[in-house]
Symmetry: C2
Subunit: 379 residues, 2 copies
Amino acid sequence: MNHSDSVGIVVPQSFAFDTPLRLQNGSILPHFTLMVETYGRLNADKSNAVLVCHALSGHHHVAGFHSPNDKHPGWWDNMVGPGKPLDTNRFFVVGVNNLGGSHGSSGPLSTNPFTGKAYGADFPLVTVADWVNSQAMLADRLGIAQWAAVMGGSLGGMQALQWAIDYPERIRHALVIASAPKLSTQNIAFNDVARQAILTDPDFHGGHYADHGTVPRRGLRIARMMGHITYLAEEGLGKKFGRQLRSGSYRFDYDVDFEVESYLRYQGDKFADAFDANTYLLMTKALDYFDPAKAFGHNLKAAVAGTQARFFVASFNSDWRFAPERSQELVQALVAAKKPVQYVALQSSHGHDAFLMDDTAYMQAVRIYFNNIAQEFGA
Amino acid sequence: MNHSDSVGIVVPQSFAFDTPLRLQNGSILPHFTLMVETYGRLNADKSNAVLVCHALSGHHHVAGFHSPNDKHPGWWDNMVGPGKPLDTNRFFVVGVNNLGGSHGSSGPLSTNPFTGKAYGADFPLVTVADWVNSQAMLADRLGIAQWAAVMGGSLGGMQALQWAIDYPERIRHALVIASAPKLSTQNIAFNDVARQAILTDPDFHGGHYADHGTVPRRGLRIARMMGHITYLAEEGLGKKFGRQLRSGSYRFDYDVDFEVESYLRYQGDKFADAFDANTYLLMTKALDYFDPAKAFGHNLKAAVAGTQARFFVASFNSDWRFAPERSQELVQALVAAKKPVQYVALQSSHGHDAFLMDDTAYMQAVRIYFNNIAQEFGA
């Protein structure tokens, strides 16, 4: 981890909140915890703070390493660090594990104060708007009245958009990358299959698998394998694996014939060993439910009419799960509402995962955008 | 079932073969059975026979009804019948359940002569080439030296192509619809997830679920739900279901929120109750393994160089599982090999399933093509 452009060793911080949080489903979280990492320094007038929101399987560990021997940096380490597109020499960057997560924030693995046991399946289904409300409380705690920017890809981009709608005065820039103003029917369908794989796993036990000493590994594995295919593009998959056979000839059984099978099963196994199933379920629901135009008569232009942020919207041509057309819907609504928006239609063979990758034009576009933001506060 | 354009009540016939069939995996089926339906009449010089090959979940029951109260006709009843595009007043049409199927032909549900019990998982992994060989034996039995045409969609189209390559003198026309000369990496990946869902279902028992009195229903259901999404297009799914909620508002639990979830779960349940898991597994393997160019140095032009059939190739613009580009690969190879081919690029919102649907231009194109074939033998 000896990288001069790394934020280096970072220590997660836990923030406890005792103010009750009213959730969109009508229930109340009497108190909750958010697990947070920060990189860079908040400047004197607190004008350089950037919130990085995570997607389905992300968390607060955005950049840097947790120990000198840590092999894997944070999930967006290529984007965030000294001299990187989101430059921690100039910006104070905040990463947060969302409510319902399983990486230290209140979620299914936390203790339910009413029962003294882990919430498990009883943790409420939180929404993007709930997350944004909890993030606003975090901003208050950090003394940040207004974010220089809120940024995210996929489900993270939805949070950036929701911030601009719900807290127009607290966000100067919204970076919405490889995202959509709402999921398509096909996306909802894929999410439901993933959930059904988990819900019908005999080790799921209605979400109380911890009480039974089990983990719905099979379901989680299948959900991830399927999800993983949809995050990639045929172009990238084809280039990487093609129809390459592991042993050179067909096996005529159900063991690994094609290299892509080996890769997918490995991804599924790894995820099933590391990720909490209840969190996976509720994250997919937050995706499905996200639809800020719904409260505005299904009129997206009306939904963004009150925003004050400037928008950066980016899409990737091979991303079929969050296709460029979906980003363009948002751009068109913003333009119709006379809101400032910069849209970048990027080329990549990486599909939806492109937002995590290093494609040059993408990195350059984000870098330039943050350079311009930095000039606003003279950094 | 009172339709003047229906073939009416049909009776499946079982054909037993005692000649050993050598399979591509090296094993031998000492004897086997094929379940068959025929429609129309074979003409005097036996020049009007058309073989209809089925796809992943199909069978021999292509058209007509099995009883006066039968609610559902055969799977391609819109295509095959008196006055229909494949007109049974002029053609003698043969439908066959492929080897490894679970609708009466030898397959996992048949008795293994070596054990006296059902094959289950021990039924050999048959390939498209194996099917074509068994279908050639059926043609011999029916006295058909040469098919006027072999026709199929998806995996069925692969059989038509294989016929043209393996038995050039026995097929005058190959209709290859919504198919591909080989699966893409993404297709193989989806198939493997489907298989893993079944193989890891605790009720699968290594494929010998019958011995355990179980059915790997969960896995089969998930496989079908996922498959079903990929056979449809977002355009069609969006038109039909959009983000329509069953109860008008979000439930905040994992029961049915969106109508598309209800639809998919229903499709999954229906399939899991009706289809044999071992057959599903081996059919997906036949898809994965199909790659006729492999034996010709991965040169498709070389693979089709010996064909004598005229080709009809059709693709649908919204079919992303077997995209138009994949049909075009075949067309380009045929053109390069100076083979006669008619290619129809059709518009449809039905995705891969379009080959089973009634889109007007599609039906018209097939009708005209068969009209021209009929003129060859003066019908």
